[in-house]
């Protein structure tokens, strides 16, 4: 028996098997991820006449759609820019607190910062709307531009803090000690040493937050009111069967986002944080105890009052109005609970299937990227696997729909399986990214050791590599799973008659006040599941 497994593993280690595995990874990537994601561009090119007719020279409306599109894009960029700026202003001090202070309750603050990351954005949007815009909460802001900005600040905030904490912790404290012993007070030290050394990471975090804001749909749908951001315009055009213009707008959004990222990258490499000049008097004052405490209190209270409490408000709302919730969900004649159960099942099925598929093909792909000797090719692959990350999910869903649906290959119709395909596409980068990092961090001599001890390559992989990256695989699964569970924009475009919970939250909260409490209930369910999974992820990652 023992010998047999060895024989099988020897067989599996043969170059043909390896080649088959690599080929499967690449074919899957091209067919299921890359082509559906970028099919949009081909579609626009193929249907250019249609696009021109609808967008630029419609006999009825002329080029008014074009101006509306530009307006929507402008709003999207404004929101993203303002949100990222606020994130940086509030997030950096908090990141510094987390990275450099030791205090009791640091763990708690650390996990609270991640809260909005674990909460599906549609649920978050509803929570913020309930907090700011209804009589249950403060009733201060109506749906519209500033509520959109606040919502986007809330869900992009963790990206900035998380990445900043990472890079600041990565800066060797000895540099800071050196600066201090050379006479630089703490503010000067941060500006001239810590900040320049973590610049790249800070910019990466800002870009992440910016793109995430640019492409968000679910929360925005709930809080937008009459304002239309670009992803919302895509969704609404799709719903009105304006396929050509929707494709065109998606493409514009993607191209502009990519262009802007390129510009940011180039500019940030050229322009540094000023480190030559020092203003000893002013900076000494800023380094003092009082300004530092004031800054910490200000940023922490902003975090608590403007982010944390509004994000969890739907929970208290559900508890306070339990009677209405119970009536709307279980007693009302339209039997919302049935729909809710159905969509819960759908949500979990989609997330589970998408995660499983990505785990298998993502691992194969990660191996190709890290282990195969084709250096150039591998680094190109490494870059383009991130493609789905920069494309707004509504546009991505739309592209997947065009590719598989009746207007493209005609293989899959809107509904459950198209949702799965879409979710596979946008969760793929998360899995591959995590596994590539894990494989790269592995000491290759461990595998060599197994080989010299008589293990065939497959066995070495199974017995040494796989156990060592198992935590990362679990982390990747949880990441993909929660991401899928909370997605709205892409799902709306491809769902047909199927429903997922985030979509339900959006639909019920759009029905002007009527099913608000049912929506709150559904979103609380989502929040609990997703945040629970996120805490599990943190626990796994710590071990």
């Amino acid at each position: 028996m023992k010998l047999d497994t060895r024989k099988i593993e020897k067989l599996l280690s043969r170059p043909t098997c390896r080649l088959a595995c690599d080929a499967a990874a690449l074919i899957f990537f091209i067919l299921v991820i890359l082509l559906p994601t970028v099919f949009l561009f081909a579609f626009v090119a193929l249907r250019w006449d249609e696009v021109v007719f609808f967008v630029f020279s419609n006999p009825v409306s002329g080029d008014i759609r074009w101006w509306r599109m530009l307006n929507a894009i402008a709003i999207s960029f404004e929101v993203a820019a303002i949100a990222t700026a606020i994130d940086l202003a509030v997030g950096l001090p908090i990141a510094l607190i987390l990275a450099r202070y030791e205090f009791r309750g640091k763990e708690i603050l650390d996990s609270l910062v991640d809260l909005p990351l674990g909460v599906p954005s549609a649920a978050l949007g509803l929570s913020l709307y309930l907090f700011w815009g209804t009589s249950d909460g403060l009733n201060l802001l109506t749906r519209g531009f500033w509520l959109i900005v606040l919502t986007h600040v809330t869900f992009t905030f963790p990206y900035i803090v998380r990445s900043s904490v990472g890079v600041i912790e990565g800066v060797d404290r000895t540099y800071e000690h050196a600066a201090r012993t050379l006479g630089a007070p703490s503010f000067t030290t941060f500006r001239t040493v810590t900040a320049p050394l973590s610049k790249a990471g800070l910019i990466a975090g800002s870009i992440l937050a910016f793109t995430r804001s640019l492409g968000e749909t679910g929360a925005t749908l709930v809080v937008a009111g009459l304002v239309e951001t670009a992803p919302l315009a895509v969704v609404s055009m799709h719903q009105r069967r304006l396929i050509g213009p929707a494709a065109f707008l998606s493409m514009l959004l993607v191209l502009l986002a990519l262009g802007l990222l390129a510009v940011i990258k180039v500019v940030s490499e050229k322009v540094g944080i000023p480190i030559k000049r020092v203003w000893p008097g002013l900076e000494r004052k800023l380094s003092g105890r009082k300004p530092r405490i004031a800054r910490d209190i200000a940023s922490l209270s902003f975090f608590g009052l403007m982010i944390l409490i509004p994000s969890c408000f739907s929970i208290s709302c559900t508890v306070n109005h339990w009677d209405s919730v119970f009536y709307e969900v279980f007693l009302a004649p339209d039997e919302k609970w049935k729909v809710l159960v159905d969509s819960l099942v759908t949500s979990f099925e989609v997330a589970a299937i998408a995660t499983a598929i990505n785990l298998i093909f993502g691992l194969a792909m990660a191996i190709v990227i890290v282990r195969r000797p084709w250096r150039r090719f591998c680094s190109v692959l490494d870059t383009i696997t991130d493609m789905p990350l920069v494309i707004p999910t509504a546009a991505l869903g739309f592209s997947v729909y065009l590719f598989w649906g009746p207007r493209g290959l005609g293989l899959v119709n809107t509904g459950f399986w198209l949702i799965v395909l879409t979710h596979v596409a946008f969760t793929y980068p998360y899995v591959v990214r995590t596994l590539v990092a894990a494989l790269k961090g592995l000491d290759p001599s461990l595998e060599h050791a197994a080989r010299t001890l008589g293990a065939p390559p497959f066995m070495a992989f199974r017995t040494v590599v796989l156990p060592l990256i198992s935590t990362s695989m679990l982390a990747a699964s949880i990441l993909a799973f929660t991401r899928s569970l909370s997605e709205t924009g892409a799902t709306i475009v491809v769902m047909g008659t199927a429903r997922t919970v985030p979509v339900l939250v959006v639909m019920w909260s759009e029905a002007v006040g009527y099913a608000r409490y049912a929506a709150a209930f559904a979103s609380v369910l989502l929040i609990l599941v997703c945040y629970g999974l996120l805490l599990a992820l943190r626990y796994v990652a710590k071990r």
């Binding site: 000895t174 540099y175 050196a178 600066a179 012993t181 050379l182 006479g183 007070p185 030559k276």
Partner: protein
Amino acid sequence: MPDVRLVNVTKTFEGGRIVAVDHVNLYVRDKEYFCILGPSGSGKTTLLRLIAGILEPDEGEIYIGGKPMRGIPPEDRDIGYVFQTFALFPHMTAWENVTYGPRARGWPEEEIERVGREMLELVGLYERADAYPRELSGGMMQRVGLARALATGASLLLLDEPLSSLDAKIAFELRYEIRRLVKGLGRTAIHVTHNQAEAMAIADRIAVMRRGRILQVGTPQELYMKPNCIFVAHFVGESNFLEGFVEKVDERGSLVRLRGDLIVRVEGKSLSVGEKAVLGIRPEVLSLETNGTKRENALPGTIERVMFEGVITRYEVRLDNEDLIVITAPSMTAKPLKPGDRVMVCIPSEKVFLFPYPERGLKEELAVE
């Protein structure tokens, strides 16, 4: 007047579970080149960081130039700090690194220029001013680190294992260069190291540290010739340690009975009759005789190993009482001996250190971790 005084300084970590510095009292004189010598984990780097203000002591007070330092942040202590890992800012050139201190203090531009040039010239790297740290060798990086620490004109220089990350040869050259610079500029220096040869070569005085405590402070000669405890005799230079009991104390010294009833006469008489004792004997004070007769302080034994180490040759001799003893002799003049040869080991009574037997055992006392 940058003398440094530490009074009862204590620093603990992890809520008091680790005592890194334990009630240390120390005085470093103005313009002195002072070394703190100790094995890794002895608390010597913590002590330096306390002086620098990177850490604050739990207890006790540190005075620099007579002024108490509690609550004063590093940037206001007028010190220079040289790091083991160099800690050159990787995003700045050698020039920007060296002039960082003057700029942070807001000196006028021409003064910054002058000091930067002077310091880089002092360490012989002015022509590499525009190089980034990654373009410099280890030795060059530490020279820049030194120039940077000196550039602010700080009269107290703190050096944390400045040579430990360098190749042996470079470290050897640089140790004298550092001393020359510090002495030339009239600064006070506190230099932390685990390398006893380095400390002996450059220090005016040395403090030997172990487990957070200072064991002995003295000139290199004092530490070597008159170690006050077993650990110092062991860590500074090298010693044989033989256990025994004090048999007799008279006007010429003491007689110590080793196991196997071997008697050794020593000059010290700090212990009383019947007390358990440890004899510390440096290998180079011992001599070997091949045909010696039985007499006082000549112990019979058999050569077990001979190790040629270049300048000296090292002999391990198993005494007839089973104790092992190491003898070194200059290679060029040493007798040709081989394992198995019978010898007499001659002990000069005036060069033996007499210590009381340590409470926690000899092995524990010698541990360097």
